[in-house]
Amino acid sequence: MKFITVNRNKRCIGILALLLSFVIAIQPVLAKGKNNITTSGVLAHNETWSDTIHLTGDVVVPEGITLIIQPGTTITFTPNGSDNDVKLPVLDKLGINKCNLLVKGNLRIEGEKDNKVIIGELVYDVNRQTTITWGGIIFEGVNAVSIVRHTKIRYADVAIVCLGSSSPKIVNNTIAENDVGVMTFGFSSPRINENKIHHNALWAISCYDYSFPMISKNIITASLVGIGSQDFSFPTISYNTLRGNKVGILFQDSSGSSILKNYFQNNTKRLRDDRKSQYIQGLWLLEGFGQESPKRKVYLTKNFSLL
């Protein structure tokens, strides 16, 4: 009896040892880093980042986990490389061999006005004679308490991607020198407020299928398109300043928008409507917008909804 008990105990110890070995064995696959900072892989628990963090591959914040990034933190990425390519829900082909921050749980980037968080650094590829971009921050899932504030995000393919019911608050940031500033997809509803979004090579904000971003009080300058809406996206666009873009606001098929009191200046084309519906073009847009004038503030004086 005693012998059996002893053996049982030994078995238990053996099983525990095996489990521990397994956990230890899989740990490097899940996450790489030191000092409890994950620089590539999946966060196993809540983490708080500060100082300088260099990511070597995709970092995943899984559901139920919160990543906090403190004021003054600088985050850099391995150029042209990723030691952990996870399959991304969108832009998958773009994200290969690049570092991304995929947020399924919560991300709180808590920069301060005088102590910003810096994400992305300029890396030049002399062979390609261009800058090397990192992927971007991808919000997926509800992550209702996620916030990105007082953060400077640069040199990404797409600085922030929101999809799958995500609704992060994106406020008081500088989003610049990316290919695209913010992209919204399927049922996401981020609050994009009071940001400076400038010098993004393609679109500053691009809204896609069934996304409902609230875009207000931003200064959007020097991009190919300031705000684009297409594929059943419904952004609310209000009190923004759109300056020096090729196209201030671009509507494409099957999109709608609520637009109120935006300020346009020196855009090559203030508004462009590529939608096929004559009803939409004729009824609302001509009433909603006055003539462009670089010397005089032109506000949208009529709130309207489309679709």
Partner: protein, 586 residues
């Protein structure tokens, strides 16, 4: 009858006496042998002449009516002005007691049977055949057909010879221009003589333009005479006479210059701190271009002067002051003067109070400064000395920089940029790659700098720059620019211009490979759906271009929007791909 006889006898005696007297007299004349010298211009000795041209031969016939024979006698010719003398042989001719010879007169140097004579000079030919006490002479004149010309001399204080001057400082170069309006070409020697001491130097002047104006220079100074280096010993207040006779025609021109040396000269002028010399201001005398850029702590301006006039320093009227120059205003810097004097020298010291101390001043002292010293001796001689320096304790701003070109054959880049204007410009920019200095480059007047040939290391390179102003203040290191350099990469891709398809303006994708490879270019929409695909082969070292006109597989125009472009290269044993966002906006 007797009387007549007597008279006849007397007459006979008188006749005899007279005859004897005559014979005696004749005998006496013949024995005296006074030489007769005749000069001719032709070899036949038929055209008498007393004047001769430069290079002419002077034919001489000599006789003393006694000396005869077939031998050769020697006569002499001496220049009456210069005193040079030659000997000429005369040889007995066919006629008895006549000797013949010749010599040449020249404006050149003496030689055998050639005597130097300049135009207008005379020479005396002296013959004494038989070598008795009765020599004979003849005089000839050199007539070279030259009208004597007075030389004109100008003196200048600078080499361009535009500012005439007759007073010169110690060590100053006296620039000369001389002409007699006729003489041209070559180099002539003129003389400069100290009128008090008598020392002389010879100075060569050259007519390099063949325009009859000869130029040259010499130095007056208070050192020893140095004829070799054209330095005339001349002391303060003394005069020197420059004499020129370019044509050597005997009519020279003169010009007098005066040594007007400083009553005092600067021996030392330093910026010091706690008696340690930090900067030497001796050459920083141009307000608009000071050459001294100071920083750090300073507490003293030290000036030592040599008093040349022999009188000691007048401390009551001498001064040394430091000013800060702010725009067109001057602000006197607080401090005190201190003076020390001895025989022949004096010290003027300005003690800054409080001392300049960047730790305390917080850069308030930065600016352009002017040291003004007035040195007066007890004899009333006064000299003003002015020196300027920039005091700069502020670090320059970090310069902007970028990579402007890349040379794939050498794996090197060119960095260019702009410095931020600073009081101590131009700045020197140091370029670091991976914390290793790659050298410095000085910004130009437009604050631009360019440095090429900066080698890269394989992998990631971290490049930063730092500028240093002329005072030695360094900027902070710039932000690091990060570069990836992969010399062995299979695929190189460049997107021409912006990666946007516009109306009638495709995207140009330039690609090249390092080995033969199969190329596949695919364009996807954001949903991952393939929009366009192209396949081809590429040879190494060739730049290929593929253009996308924003059309799909069916050559239909795609919608405006963002697309993903993936370029893959598959070589033997390796594969590489590049992915980039593109856009269409017609």
């Amino acid at each position: 009858m007797r009387v007549d006889v007597v008279l006849k006898k007397s007459r006979g005696l008188i006749v005899i006496f007279l005859s004897l007297t005559l014979i005696t007299a004749m005998t006496t004349v013949a024995a005296a042998s006074v030489d007769l010298v005749f000069t001719y211009s032709d070899s036949l000795y038929s055209v008498p002449a007393a004047t001769f041209d430069d290079g002419d031969r002077v034919y001489v016939k000599v006789t003393d009516n006694v000396t005869t024979g077939a031998g050769t006698e020697t006569i002499s010719v001496i220049n009456d002005q210069d005193g040079n003398k030659i000997s000429v042989s005369v040889t007995a001719g066919a006629a008895s007691k006549l000797y013949y010879g010749s010599f040449i007169i020249t404006s050149g140097a003496d030689a055998a049977e050639t005597i130097h004579m300049t135009n207008g000079q005379t020479a005396t030919i002296t013959a004494n055949l038989g070598d008795d006490e009765y020599a004979g002479t003849a005089q000839i004149t050199a007539d070279y057909g030259i009208t004597p010309l007075t030389d004109v001399i100008w003196t200048y204080s600078e080499s361009s010879r535009t500012v005439e001057a007759t007073e010169f400082r110690d060590g100053a170069t006296v620039y000369l221009k001389v002409t007699d309006t006729k003489t041209k070409g070559g180099t002539k020697a003129i003389t400069v003589k100290n009128n008090q001491i008598g020392n002389t130097i010879s100075v060569n002047v050259t007519d390099s333009n063949g325009d009859s104006f000869y130029v040259g220079s010499f130095i007056v100074y208070s050192g020893a005479n140095d004829d070799v280096n054209d330095k005339l010993a001349l002391f303060h207040g003394q005069t020197a006479t420059i004499t020129a006779d370019l044509a050597a025609d005997g009519v020279s021109g003169t010009k007098i210059i005066t040594a007007a040396y400083l009553a005092s000269t600067v021996s030392q002028i330093y910026i010091k701190y706690q008696d340690t010399v930090l900067y030497n201001l001796v050459s920083s005398t141009n307000r608009n271009n000071p050459t001294v850029f100071a920083k750090g702590k300073i507490d003293e301006i030290y000036l030592k002067v040599n008093l040349l006039a022999g009188a000691p320093l007048n401390e009551a009227t001498s001064s040394i002051v430091l000013y800060k120059l702010v725009d067109s205003e001057t602000e006197e810097v607080s401090g005190s003067q201190e003076m020390n004097r001895d025989t022949g020298w004096a010290e003027l010291i300005f003690n800054l109070s409080p001392a300049f101390d960047p730790d305390v001043d917080e850069h308030d002292r930065d600016g352009l400064y002017w040291v003004n010293a007035t040195v007066v001796d007890t004899a009333g001689n006064s000299e003003d000395f002015n020196f300027y320096f920039i005091y700069d304790t502020t670090s320059p701003s970090v310069p902007d920089f970028q990579i402007t070109s890349y040379d794939p054959t050498t794996g090197s880049i060119t960095v260019s940029g702009t410095t931020v204007p600073d009081v101590s410009d131009p700045q020197e920019v140091e370029i670091f790659v991976n914390d290793s200095s790659k050298g410095t480059v000085t910004a130009d007047a437009n604050y631009q700098f360019v440095k090429s040939g900066i080698g890269l290391a394989k992998g990631t390179n971290y490049i930063k720059v730092q500028s240093m102003d002329k005072a030695g203040n360094k900027s902070k290191l710039s932000k690091t620019l990060k570069f990836a350099y992969n010399p062995e990469g299979l695929l190189s891709v460049v997107f021409r211009s912006t990666h946007v398809v516009r109306r009638d303006s495709p995207i140009g994708i330039i690609y090249s490979v390092t080995q033969a490879a199969e190329i596949v270019i695919r364009v996807y929409n954001l949903n991952g759906k393939l929009v366009k695909e192209w396949k081809g082969n590429a040879s190494p070292g060739v730049a290929n271009e593929w253009k996308w006109y924003g059309k799909n597989m069916y050559e239909e125009e795609v919608n405006n929007g963002v697309y993903i472009c993936r370029i893959s290269a598959k070589g033997s044993g390796n594969r590489e791909r590049k992915i980039k966002l593109l856009a269409v906006l017609r």
